[in-house]
């Protein structure tokens, strides 16, 4: 069984990253009905900015904090400059805008920084921990803990705070939210900042394991998007479960079937789930207004 456990552990680690990306998708989707394909670039920025701040001599925690704040700022700028001016545009246009933004951020990163692959040291060393015959890196525990902590904080935020409920109200019905005095523009800004910060946090946590470079964002965005759809778009619980499920599925396929087709397994399962449940695992059934 140590083999199975090993695959499970590595699957959960990867899945935790997908879950963080999917949570980022979920927040923005809830606030604005936009699927932000630049979400993966936030992860990339988190890793890249941390590396360069760290290389410039800053201590790692400070470098990570700077990266998260800077990325949140970029998220807000994305909303103000590209998403808000295009409000009400059809889905295809919004997809192209956010993919355009993702290509733009990639191009800018390669100019401002470089095209090299980077890594910074793991938070608690690189000595693997033995669990029942399988091993796990301490950094993987950081990633998993990070995903759970973010999920828990979001849950508290959406259920226990006034502003969190304001975000949910805006998601439900923008005009009604405005009528009861919610500043929906502020809600949008906040959502993009939070989503970008969560993406950057994922980048900070995972870079010591997977390394980073200017072009890692797109693959992460696709996986995170798939995870969010698998769970049901717009549902934080769905994002978490979808992400973990996708990660475990990939690890099992890579371990038992073929490592070349590990990405294929994910998409085959997503197609199957969508055929059976067109709204994803946790999505609500929607009805069309005629």
């Amino acid at each position: 069984m140590p083999e199975l456990l090993q695959f499970l552990l590595s699957g959960i680690t990867v899945g935790a990253v997908y879950a963080l990306v999917a949570l980022g998708f979920t927040i923005i989707y809830n606030a604005s009905d936009v699927v932000n394909f630049a979400q993966g670039e936030f992860v990339m920025l988190g890793g890249m900015i941390t590396f360069f701040a760290h290389a410039a001599g800053l201590p790692l925690p400070l470098a990570a904090l700077i990266a998260i704040i800077a990325t949140a700022g970029i998220g807000v700028a994305l909303n103000k400059l590209a998403i808000e001016p295009a409000r009400g545009a059809p889905v295809v246009s919004l997809i192209i805008i956010t993919i355009g933004a993702s290509i733009f951020i990639r191009g800018a990163t390669q100019l401002v920084f470089d095209k090299q692959i980077h890594r910074f040291p793991a938070f608690s060393g690189d000595q693997p921990i033995l669990i029942g015959g399988a091993t796990i890196l301490p950094q993987s525990l950081w990633v998993i803990a990070g995903a759970l902590a973010v999920f828990f904080c979001l849950w508290l935020f959406f259920t226990r705070t006034l502003i969190g409920r304001a975000v949910l109200a805006t998601a439900n019905n923008r005009i009604a939210a405005q009528l009861v005095g919610i500043n929906t523009n502020y809600v949008m800004t906040l959502s993009f900042a939070m989503s970008a910060a969560i993406g950057a946090l994922a980048g900070v946590l995972v870079t010591p394991i997977t390394l980073t470079s200017y072009d890692v964002g797109l693959a992460l965005a696709l996986k995170g998007f798939a995870a969010a759809m698998l769970g049901g778009m717009g549902n934080p619980k769905g994002a978490l479960v979808g992400g973990l499920l996708l990660g475990i599925l990939e690890a099992m396929t890579a371990g038992y079937i073929s490592s070349q087709y590990k990405d294929a397994a994910a998409f085959v399962v997503i197609l199957a789930v969508l055929f059976a449940m067109p709204q994803g695992l946790f999505g609500r059934k929607s009805t069309d207004r005629v």
Partner: protein, 318 residues
């Protein structure tokens, strides 16, 4: 005499294709031109899917991949002539689109986007992983079409780039003609009706599922033929032709130029095919510029370049 918009579109297209070579200083321009036509063909298919029927696909490069690899594999393994191989590829694409489209097209919006994206990724993954058959990520050679030799025998001697310019231009005009005819046909009306409102279309008796599938299969055939042309013209093919970025490029070309109009979409193909060639001078800034163009056009010209510009000109005239 007032020409119908269909005739005008075809005349403009044919005239531009025929006259442009006069201004070409080198054979390189013929090459870029034929690339524009190949992309334009795939994009014309997407006009049927996106512009007429209002559906999305982020996986159409998968069909281009099927068309391209049919031309590479069928002549070697089945002994088919490359032209027949392209037809076989188109038939295979249509069959796959028929099978995949039925369940996929029940989905809407982003769900449809992720399902079609998954399909495209599966195709490109098979192409790059089945290396003993497809040569893997390194790609494989594609046999000569042989039509140029036939033309030469009857006295029409064209250089390679000139031939492909003329041939893919011809295929594009035929493709545009078919798509424009479809627009005014009962099928085209049904597609536009379900684009406007599926419920309303169903109420007046349109078989929504059937017509969505028709649009999906037709656009798959366009993508497949475009892939075949690309493979035959380059005489070499890699799995990139089926990749996610190629799907995105195709959709961007269509929407950038104006997915509702055949001419607009081809204009989009022309711009996005030429842009990287121009930008090679500023290679460092290529991605930056591409991303910026995509965002700006979509924010400020939501219907795409051509429809927005013609509307502005008309608005000024009145």
């Amino acid at each position: 005499m007032r020409l119908s918009s269909k005739t005008t579109t075809l005349l403009i297209l044919a005239a531009v294709i025929a006259i442009a070579p006069v201004f070409f200083p080198s054979s390189y321009y013929f090459r870029v031109g034929s690339l524009i036509f190949v992309n334009g063909l795939a994009v014309t298919g997407l006009v049927i899917l996106i512009g007429y029927a209002g559906q999305i696909s982020l996986g159409h490069a998968g069909f281009a991949g099927i068309g391209a690899y049919a031309c590479a594999l069928a002549p070697v393994h089945l002994g088919l002539h490359p032209a027949l191989a392209a037809v076989l590829g188109a038939a295979l694409s249509a069959a796959i689109a028929f099978l995949v489209g039925r369940p996929i097209l029940r989905l809407k919006g982003y769900y449809l986007a992720v399902a079609s994206l998954g399909f495209g990724i599966l195709v490109s993954m098979v192409l790059s992983n089945e290396a003993q058959l497809t040569g893997g990520p390194d790609g494989m050679a594609v046999p000569e079409l042989g039509l140029r030799a036939v033309l030469k025998a009857i006295g029409i001697d064209l250089s390679n780039t000139e031939f492909w310019y003329a041939f893919s231009g011809l295929v594009l005009v035929i493709g545009a003609w078919l798509a424009l005819n479809l627009y005014h046909s009962p099928t085209g009306r049904a597609l536009r009706a379900l684009h406007g409102s599926e419920v309303a279309a169903r109420t007046v008796g349109v078989d929504v599922a059937h017509y969505k599938l028709v649009a999906f299969v037709l656009s798959a055939v366009y993508a497949s033929v475009s892939g075949s042309l690309l493979a035959l013209q380059n005489k070499f093919i890699t799995p990139d032709v089926a990749g996610f970025m190629h799907s995105i490029e195709m959709v961007t070309m269509a929407v950038l130029g104006g997915a509702g109009s055949v001419l607009g979409a081809i204009l989009g193909a022309a711009i996005l095919t030429t842009l990287p060639q121009v930008l090679t001078v500023f290679q460092e800034y290529e991605q930056l510029m591409l991303g910026l163009v995509m965002m700006l056009v979509m924010i400020f010209m939501r219907e795409g370049l051509l429809p927005s510009i013609t509307r502005r000109i008309r608005g000024r005239a009145e």
